[in-house]
Symmetry: C2
Subunit: 516 residues, 2 copies
């Protein structure tokens, strides 16, 4: 087998069965080998940021890594922002980068760049294949590293000549088994300590990592009901089970003032795959650290530990019984008239099918919309993790590949959508079951707010223009159609309701531009 | 003045008068300060790769740096690929990145990333502002560093708190004068040596860097006519004066076999702001180094030296007189019928107005089209420099900002266009005088060729699908209209001719999708 075939076989044998790719010359043999390894699904993207974001979304939903295939340093560079987000989500990603042939690397050819230097800030593991005989081992180590725990971006750099050289036979494949090593054991003392604190006034659990999933939240809900402990979710929790009938703890607010207010009563904070909450940005005369003075921080489970097992141990320790959670069902008659964010949230809550997956990058629109979804049918939500804009649509692509039987809904701000809009083309090409809703306020609205927060109460025309993305207005109906995704525009609540009903009833991709 | 105002004033006073920006929270004060420094033109882009590519195009045409303004590590990451291209073009770029407030940096906030690590591989100079009192000095050093010689990407990282703190008064501004330091002196020996070699059979000049400009080419043409010396242009020469009436030496071919054939007779190669030619990629059983065995390489001018002055010295030394260059004018009746690349090239040659600026990223289409342009009216051409795809449209944005009185024509492959298509929105917003021609072969055609070159004579359906970007077909007319650029589609030579005539006659942006 050639090195490329060894690489593909190793991936497939280790359970990595999808590769989001934007290949170039140095990756051609990998592409050619796809026909000989049918277990691997190649998904073509028109921009590398779509590949890396899709790998993140896939990992969040499938619980195992996808591969990427990117072209040299500049191809990796285009994928870095969403690898940053994947890093913060602790998503396992097998990030494969082609490099120039070994003998070609000494020349300063146009595409020569320091691939490792680009990769290190986003990767927990970087490995350069040292020869064709090394590819199976390098791939096995990379897959294992990606799985963690916690999951991480693991980068494998493969010189082109190794991919076309004949190397090992199939018998030499390294198979890492595809599943993570067992996490570091929990501390009995930490569990014991937490169990003692649960009933004390001012104790709160802060859940992050994999503890936004349904089972962990159910456990946390039992503890809350039984002991009165407060429960918060970390903002960047990569996957949150939500909707009626579920325990839905509040997320730590985005801006520091409401976050500080929400956490004001906390005397003991117990971390479960999370970290002490800090504000997104630093502002003048505002603390970045959000816990009240004197609040003691305890760690029940580190990021790489099994927080769900820790919660289970607490439930057993406390004897917390099962708890049911009620939520009103949404109003049967959705609102009419102006398409406000409130109307939009109410319609979404009423229309969302059971088991939907939300990719959420509404930015300034999320405040009014998300509270409505507490009453929606049970669903999973994938929030922004690393804060790098352009995550939402690619993550939706990956989630739809991981869960073809579920409806994916991408809630996407207009400004954010434009960073990685090429994701729409992959949705059309793969006929992915994604309904994209564009929140078109035609402004970098969040910057309006942030401008004031950084001490500029009023600003001039020129500054204002730098937040105005409505001149010219983006026409998302044409943009989507240009990439093969059927689209409509809604300007009233009735229109949005009708269009959403239609979009959710069909298979395949659809886009609604909601003009706010 | 606040730090942000000091920064803007320093830029403006040093002759940096345009900033391509995609700001975020940490850059808000810089944006707010725009209204108090009217000498600075802020140009908003919807994606950071547009900002950095535009800065490159601006520098190539204006001969001085533009600034960028990017948001934290992930914002920089999105701009890296075109900074890679700018680095290979030796374009001066003042690359400004906002960082979290100093006290906020110790927390692992979502957007925290290692900005310096991202910046170093593409930057010749990286400077972190150390306080508000340091901003003027840091900005001055960054501007000076960007200017070189040779020009380079110089990165300045500014923590947000310094931008809102009151600092220096206007009197303390550091003004670097905006022009580069004088280049290192030429070697008299090198000139003398080159002068001796010029008439020897097998001597060739290889021009790169600033030696693709009109005056340097004119000098090289005089030497060629007077002494018989062969002249070649480096592929990645960032700006090439071309068109009829000019000396138009051949560019070193892209693939190694024709390049080796073209250079086969060279015994002495004289570098003028260039480097020994190597192939773009390394291939099986093919040398990467393109010069024949035994060829001696001489350096007349290093990258940072003044190659044009060196050519002048040679002209004086040899007494080479002025030379006129004839080229046929294009056929008065453009071709009819099928829209082949040949037809397209012939129509372009006939229609291109005098003094047009071409941004050239045709990839596989360039081979048949470029030879026609030898007969076009005199123009300047900006080729791909670093090979990172997605350069063409952003570079056209920058060139149009630098030269508002000239027509910019972006010759853009369909696959390449999709990496930084957001450039169209900035063209519409700024009413830039750019005609974009999309070469729509609906395939990553170059990869077809490269696949065979890396040793895969035939490949299967799955591999083939990874080069097929026509499923679904991209509709560039809708994509352009969605960003406010009027567009048409041409499927015959007559249609293309009529649409091109119309596009070139109007002011402002226009797009033609040429379906091949």
């Amino acid at each position: 087998m050639t090195g490329a075939e060894v690489l593909l076989q190793t991936l497939a044998a280790s359970g990595v069965e999808i590769c989001f790719m934007n290949p170039g010359t140095s990756e051609m043999r990998f592409v050619a080998a796809l026909d000989r390894v049918p277990e691997m699904r190649g998904v073509l993207c028109l921009f590398e940021g779509v590949c890396t974001g899709a790998a993140d979304g896939y990992a969040r939903m499938a619980g195992k890594p996808a591969a990427t295939l990117l072209h040299l340093g500049p191809g990796l560079a285009n994928g870095l922002a969403n690898l940053h987000n994947a890093r913060k989500a602790r998503s396992p990603v097998v990030n494969i980068i082609g490099e120039h042939s070994t003998w070609h690397q000494k020349y300063d050819a146009p595409l020569s760049a320091d691939i490792e230097a680009f990769a290190r800030p986003v990767s927990g593991f970087v490995r350069v294949a040292r020869g064709v005989e090394d590819i199976a081992a390098a791939a096995g180590e990379t897959i294992a590293a990606s799985n963690g725990p916690p999951g991480q971006v693991a980068t494998l750099i493969v010189p082109a000549d190794f991919s076309w050289t004949e190397g090992q036979s199939g018998a030499d494949l390294q198979v890492c088994g595809g599943s993570p090593d067992p996490p570091p054991a929990l501390s009995d003392d930490a569990i014991c300590n937490a169990a003692k604190l649960l009933r004390a006034p001012g104790t709160a659990l802060l859940l992050g990592g994999r503890c936004g999933r349904a089972h962990a939240l159910e456990l946390a809900g039992r503890l809350h009901r039984h002991t009165g402990v407060a429960v918060f979710l970390e903002r960047s929790t990569p996957l949150v089970a939500a909707g009626r009938g579920r325990f839905q703890p509040p997320t730590v607010p985005y801006f520091p003032e409401p976050a500080i207010a929400a956490l004001a009563g906390v005397r003991d904070l117990i971390l479960v795959e999370s970290q002490p909450p800090v504000s997104f940005f630093g502002y003048p005369n505002t603390p970045s650290y959000l816990l009240p003075e004197g609040c003691v921080v305890h760690t029940l489970a580190e990021r790489g530990q099994d927080g769900t097992a820790a919660l289970t141990a607490l439930v057993v320790e406390c004897g917390a019984p099962q708890a049911g959670w009620q939520a009103e069902t949404p109003a049967p008659h959705p609102p009419e008239g102006a398409l406000t964010l409130d109307a939009l949230g109410a319609i979404l809550a009423a229309r969302m099918p059971e088991n939907a997956i939300l990719s959420e990058e509404m930015v300034s629109s999320s405040g009014p919309v998300l509270p409505h979804l507490i009453r929606a049918a049970p669903h999973d939500r994938m929030p922004v993790t690393g804060g790098s804009i352009g995550q939402g649509l690619p993550v939706a692509v990956g989630a739809a590949c991981a869960c073809p039987d579920r409806k994916v809904i991408a809630l996407e701000a207009d400004g954010s959508a434009m960073y990685t809009l090429q994701a729409l083309w992959t949705m059309a090409r793969e006929n992915l079951n994604v309904t994209t809703i564009i929140f078109a306020n035609r402004r970098y609205q969040i910057l309006d707010i942030e401008m004031r927060r950084t001490g500029t109460a009023s600003f001039g025309k020129t500054a204002d223009a730098m937040m105005d993305i409505g001149r010219p207005a983006l026409d998302f109906v044409q943009l989507a159609a240009g990439m093969g995704v059927p689209a409509t525009r809604a300007t009233t609540a009735e229109e949005f309701d009708r269009q959403l009903e239609e979009a959710l009833a069909m298979d395949g991709p659809r886009l609604i531009e909601a003009v706010l």
